[in-house]
Amino acid sequence: MKIHEFQAKELLKRYAIPIQDGITIDNLAQAEAALDQVQADFGAEQFVIKAQIHAGGRGKGGGVKFCSDRATALEKINDIFGMTLITHQTGPEGRLVKKVMVAEALDIAQEFYVAITLDRSSGKDVFMVSSEGGMEIEEVAKTAPEKIVREAVTPGLGLLGFQGRRLAKALELEGKPARQAAAMFQKLYTLYREMDASIVEINPLVVTEQGALVALDAKMNFDGNALYMHSDVVEMRDLDEEDPAEVEADKYNLNYIKLDGEVGCMVNGAGLAMATMDIIKQVGGSPANFLDVGGGANVETVKNGFRIILADENVKAVLINIFGGIVRCDRIANGIIEAVKELDLNVPVVVRLAGTNAEVAKELLSNSGVSIISADHFEDAAHKVVAAAKGA
């Protein structure tokens, strides 16, 4: 689960990590008051106006503006509110800006990159820092990987004192800023672990002209499996930043991701769902979505799956590919029959059922009188659904 910069900064504050502070507003009428407060609380004369969306690259996309005075700040707040911000992480459709952070401007002497995430291949969390802070860290990783210094965290022990000092040294910090950074890195890992984050990234961490260490930006993702322990994080969820169809699917425990093709897919299991999308593409079609109905598929999940797939106007045909293990195909067949009758389908539906009770299921479908194209195997199903989508 993702959260906004201003929310991530609240968490940093909770762990006593210094941040570039500000006030976040969700409508223009609050702009004057926010500027007043940033001036009063943080003594700011200059401001940075920052669009709050769940994507990186905001600066490059024009969503972050430095303002040397209050009048400019007002103007920029006005510009950024309601703009459609396009960055390399939003996709070409961009994202509507509904929240804006009015932050204090700082005099920056140095910028660093700092991040923690899981390294799947070693099975350990990895702390990464680089003196090449700012926007192009992925480029640095490709061209000069030695400039990203890593410390693997021993499971159960956290980031140790000497590891924090080593990371600070790698950033060529000395004296007080070095001691501050080492302590900050340990706190940052504690936050990451205690909050069950999957990514914590501070890009950049800066040293100001006054010698203070400050987190200028912050991105955090959280492990969905651990949210049951973190109601405060769950409260930070911003549904405006998510696809409405995916939010709807989530309510029914369906794993749905919208794509831009014309063949709707309903499959049990993520691997088989991906393989189904692959084969549709290979036989000349294009998948409209990923939809995993999970291991406990029943009449209700099938109906809800249909509703979500068909809400997408691009869908010209639907493929249902179920390999019943624990799931019984006859139950799925009943779900399909009910859904087709109830939902008034106007696109062709191709059904491939294999595994437990597949034969019974096929009979149910053919005797039901509902208009369904039956497929014998995986490839056959793909050919039939792509042909149906093209004919529609």
């Binding site: 899981l118 069950d196 999308m277 291991g295």
Partner: protein, 291 residues
């Protein structure tokens, strides 16, 4: 003798008194498994599955009293990490965890803990292990598989069933099918299973089914190039999956390798693995590789 599990496996089910645990324990018994007990803390002394098996308070007691050496775990996510470590601490040789949704940070600690014991761990969030005709330790539908000489390793559940079904339709049975799970942290990896199948005299070829994300397939491919004599047939699901909608850069820079389906397939092919393009051609390709 296939790998991991056989007729001599003495299986306990952790979480046997829950709905999932009792349902699947019953299915395992029906398959002919030697289910010697169950574990539910606080319910020791009772019986489960209509009196067919004893319930113990702990894995250690089950190990001591009925000689359990394999544990199958259905404990709910908040308690599953503890259950896995309990089994490892009790000296259970093979631990298979089916539970989906265990917090990743807990799994990091579990993996580190289990590595310090002598136990082998499979999963979590996986369909388990099936040696057709001998033992089913997990939730795979036993009837789709057939005894034979092809080893199957897979990150995915239903895609494993699909592959097994294709093999059977080509007249090929399986020595053992292992669902390793697709979570960020898993116990036994593809590479380790390749080594086990290579050493198994009852396996002639290996099917390896991967997915986008992580670098496990690449590590396995490199291992296969150096160490394997048996043919390996590989498929990677997710060629058309959109790049994850990520935020920030840490995920992209941490592994230092390309985790896309195309990159994995290329590396696998370079390492001598027969790469299947269409998920419908897995069975046919194995047949060709063996002829």
């Amino acid at each position: 003798m296939a790998i991991l599990v056989d007729k001599d496996s003495r299986i306990i089910v952790q979480g046997i008194t829950g709905a999932e645990g009792s349902f699947h324990a019953e299915q395992c018994l029906a398959y002919g498994d030697n289910v010697v007990g169950g574990v539910t803390p606080g319910k020791g002394g009772q019986t489960a599955l209509e009196g067919k098996v004893p319930v113990f308070d702990s894995c250690a007691e089950a190990r001591e009293q009925v000689g359990a050496n394999v544990s199958l775990i259905f404990v709910p996510p908040p308690f599953a990490a503890d259950a896995i470590m309990e089994a490892a601490a009790a000296g259970i040789e093979l631990i298979v965890c089916i539970t989906e949704g265990i917090p990743v940070a807990q799994m990091v600690e579990v993996k580190s803990f289990v590595e310090q014991t002598g136990s082998r761990f499979i999963g979590p969030n996986c369909p388990g292990v099936l040696t057709p005709g001998a033992a089913k330790v997990g939730i795979m539908p036993g009837f789709i598989a057939k005894e034979g000489r092809v080893g199957v390793i897979s990150k995915s559940g239903t895609l494993t069933y699909e592959a097994v079904d294709q093999l059977v339709r080509e007249g090929l049975g399986q020595s053992t099918c292992v669902g390793i799970g697709g979570d960020p942290i898993i116990g036994t990896t593809m590479k380790e299973l390749l080594a086990l199948f290579e050493a198994d005299s009852e396996t002639d070829a290996i099917v390896m089914i991967g997915e986008i994300g992580g670098s496990m397939e690449i590590e396995a491919a490199k291992y296969a190039k150096e160490n394997l004599t048996k043919p390996v047939i590989g498929f990677i699901a997710g060629q058309t999956a959109p790049p994850g909608r990520r935020m920030g850069h840490a995920g992209a820079i941490v592994s230092g390798v390309d985790e896309s389906a195309a990159a994995k397939k290329e590396m696998m092919a370079q390492c001598g693995i027969v790469v299947v393009e269409s998920p419908a051609d897995i069975g046919k390709t194995v047949k060709r590789a063996l002829s």
